[in-house]
Symmetry: C2
Subunit: 182 residues, 2 copies
Amino acid sequence: MNIRTLCLGILSLQEASGYEIKKEIEEGVFNHFIDASYGSIYPALTQLNAEGLLSVRSEEQLGRPDKKVYAITEEGKTVLAKGLSVVPARDKYKSEFLFVMLLQHLLSKQDIGRAMGKQHADLMEDLARIENCNGENCSDEMSNLPGAAFVAGYGRTVLRAAADYLEQCQPELKKQTFKAAE
Amino acid sequence: MNIRTLCLGILSLQEASGYEIKKEIEEGVFNHFIDASYGSIYPALTQLNAEGLLSVRSEEQLGRPDKKVYAITEEGKTVLAKGLSVVPARDKYKSEFLFVMLLQHLLSKQDIGRAMGKQHADLMEDLARIENCNGENCSDEMSNLPGAAFVAGYGRTVLRAAADYLEQCQPELKKQTFKAAE
DNA sequence: TTTGGCATATATCAGCTTGTTATATACCAT
DNA sequence: ATGGTATATAACAAGCTGATATATGCCAAA
């Protein structure tokens, strides 16, 4: 599955501009398991539009470039369904943190403590975002989907397990929980 | 942190060829949190050697290209230490599985079941590899490192939490545990 | 027995992705 | 006024993946 399918998937829920898709990926339910940059989103939208899988509408803006709002076409929906039904690729997880921890004998205690603290703070941030998207403060189309609860639950479980493990190894981290989750 | 630091890190533990580094990443302790392809490893080794951070020794092979065994130099060790002490980048996690599950309303029950089964099997495979690398059947330099227990524990915790979550959502998966872990 | 698949070993490259920069403007806080 | 944040698109160097090419030996299946 590639960015094309990703864009089609998001646009099957609500029409959006490239900027809004990026924002949705960064701040929405997707946050903890999807990444995409402008450099891949904009070309993908242009291409999908050229192929008739999307339609565009230009919205004029004050002092900004026109907003190009994309919507999925019937043909786009067909292609999306086909793209989703192939067995998904294996999850990819990359962690510099774990690499550094494996080679911890080459580092000072300070460096290790800093890495642990950063990792814990990152996990807390991701956890907070998941809870945020589920609450009332999020009028997100995504969070009302039938699959949203499952996905949020998966993320919550995994992130919480990782945070618990770190806190167990270094109990001082528990104090920072409140600060980081705010 | 980039492939350069990754190669230096592995070579700080044992000298190896590009092929062996790839194998180590695929089958060793790294497996669940590091990825790297030949297309990045070979150029990195050539470059690091040109910069004097590695030394090479050619081993003749029967009916195969010469094996180029790389070893880290003193200068390489210095550069590695510097590379490791910068605060590690945030973990990256990409999951087509979760994306598909979020859009499950567009799929058949069969497709969803297949995706769940695949995800569960993948998790079991990763878990089995972690236990394998810790046992006696693994004469791996990596698994004797002071940091190895922490890293294996982190992986075990997170993967087990994910598998438990899936099994809780779809209890039929528990039966497959044995098959997949074999 | 021969055919195909797997393991060893390096190298290359198209194509995709990231991360950054450029462009343009408004608004808010310092 | 100066800098940061937010909206919006575009483009590009640099990096990485996944596939392919090359060459050979070994083992199992047909």
